[in-house]
Amino acid sequence: MRTRRTIAAAMSVLALTAVAACGKSGSPSDNAAGGSAAPKPPTYQVKTDVKLTGSKTFDNAKKRGHLVIGAKSDQPFLGFEDLSAGSGASARSGFDIEIARMVAADLGFGPDQIEWKTIASANRENALSGDGDHQIDFYVGTYTINEKRKAQVSFAGPYLVAGQDLLVAKDNTTITGPESVKDKSVCSVTGSTSIDNITPYGAKITKYETYSQCVDKLMTGEVDAVTTDDAILKGYAAKNPDKLKVVGKPFTKEPYGVGLAKDDSVLRNAINDALKAHEDNGDWKKAYDATLGLSGAPASAVPALERY
């Protein structure tokens, strides 16, 4: 027994020294795609003296002095967090993040006045619910606008229209679109509409919690394809261009919106105005080229806002 205790103690000491001793800072190879010539996202003019009367969310944010924005953290070029770069605001990158930053700027909050919170898909509605006291002020992360969700939250936007597509191994020639996935095993994320959309085509479905788990399974050859919105898939393809490719035949329309508390029409209008302004002054395009554009996808047209 004494020996076991000693072993346990030794182990913990070892673990602690291992953690404390060596440590690099900075990030490993985050410039893999693009290199130094890659376009940088624009900086946004932070507005001063922004007044929104009647938005509880905005009032709370003003009082606390910063915005709390919900996002994804594991989708390259969309909503990504570089863990080795620390937990500061600079560690976040991607098109969704840029959209959030430009909206924040128009609400009077600079990039260092944003607190990011990673919220998984299943918890989005919950994070935006509650009476004026939400976990997050708004959410930007591949959030498809649809009628059922509109019953629980409100949407500004859309700011991008994606479509469901398939990610396959580079040398795969048999899967050319949704019609060719019959009896093939296709992976997607638990509880996503992507699964409902691909099931009618006769695919064998595999479900994991995150897309990177699916991509891992694709790389080991256990599944034949990964399916979800093309915007997400392109990011993964760009991270491993020698092994993966996107089929490129989107078969649904997924308009991405900014999610916010239901019936906060003041904030919704303000966000829509912000999106409109940045789309018109070219920030949208610049942000796209500096993020999603790096994954090789040409910028699609700016979608028209759906104000309601």
Binding site: M1, R4, R5, A8, M11, S12, A15, V19, C22, G23, K24, S25, G26, S27, P28, S73, D74, P76, F80, E81, D82, L83, S84, A85, G86, S87, A91, K117, T118, I119, A120, A122, N123, N126, A127, S129, G130, D133, H134, Q135, E209, T210, S212, Q213, V215, D216, M219, T220, Y236, K239, N240, D242, K243
Partner: protein, 279 residues
């Protein structure tokens, strides 16, 4: 250790031939295990799991900090849940042992209900109803209710195992029901059930990992994020992360078990040592 005692009862002291046989058998099984381990190591290495890129993230101070933060969140949730579940457990155990039939029935119903509910569902339900803004408390409440119910059962069976004379003597001294229960029976019960109680605390510690479901950024969540945000040519470093995080969890749980053993040894040292009942 008590197992050593039983082992010798289960088989004769080996003679020279038996010893040789055991040794041969031991060597064979060792070889078998070693071969399996080597195969595992070799295939993992072949799949690039020991490539530098897979382990690279762990070198960065920011990522180490992430793991430490995760560890701290895990320990916070565990500490709160441990204290609260023990309190709830004693309360429910007292309820189950009450003289009043309604109290007994209610306590029993609560215990049975929360013991059977999947923790995942409870945590999710609390997060989506009461604690929308505080994942920590959703997690702690779920853990407390489930583990409290289990601890109640453990304490109750411990109280039932205290020799009857103890309670009778206390009543004879003129103590009241509550006094008897909390000053005579429960302390002895806790002492005799300590290994089981700590065993359940280990379960509590492990179950804090369910917090990742409701955006509570504990240790396992940190690990998963590290794995999913590190893309290498050989896939994502799920195996390295599993190894690192697994070692941390096993270390913590073994430490807790060691604490239990130490407490047990301390408790046994004093008077009133109860020998294991001869069934």
């Amino acid at each position: 250790m008590s197992s050593a005692l039983t082992s010798t009862v289960l088989y004769d002291t080996p003679g020279p031939r038996a010893r040789a046989r055991y040794r041969a058998f031991g060597v064979l099984s060792l070889l078998g295990i070693a071969a399996l381990l080597w195969y595992a190591y070799d295939s993992l290495a072949g799949a690039g799991q020991f490539a530098a890129a897979m382990w690279d993230p762990f070198q960065y101070t920011a990522i180490q900090q992430r793991i430490l933060d995760g560890l701290q969140s895990t320990l916070t949730a565990f500490g709160l849940a441990a204290v609260l579940s023990l309190a709830l457990g004693s309360l429910l155990a007292a309820g189950q042992l009450s003289d009043h039939r309604p109290v007994r029935a209610v306590a029993k119903a609560i215990v049975q209900f929360f013991r059977a509910m999947p923790l995942l569902i409870m945590i999710f339900a609390f997060y989506h109803s009461v604690f929308a803004t505080s994942p920590l408390w959703a997690l702690v409440t779920g853990l407390t209710l489930y583990n409290g119910a289990v601890q109640a059962e453990i304490i109750r069976s411990g109280v039932n195992a205290v020799p009857r004379g103890q309670g009778e003597a206390a009543y004879a001294l003129g103590m009241r029901k509550t006094q008897v229960l909390f000053t005579i029976l429960v302390p002895q019960a806790v002492r005799s059930m300590l290994p089981t109680i700590i065993g359940q605390l280990v379960v509590t510690l492990k179950d804090t990992s369910l917090g990742f479901l409701i955006t509570y950024t504990e240790l396992l969540y940190a690990g998963k994020l590290i794995a999913s945000n590190t893309s290498t040519p050989n896939g994502y470093p799920y195996i390295p992360v599993t190894i690192v995080i697994g070692v941390i969890y096993i270390g913590m749980c073994l430490a807790l078990t060691a604490l239990a053993k130490w407490l047990e040894a301390r408790g046994r040292r004093g008077a009133n040592r109860r020998t294991t009942a001869a069934a």
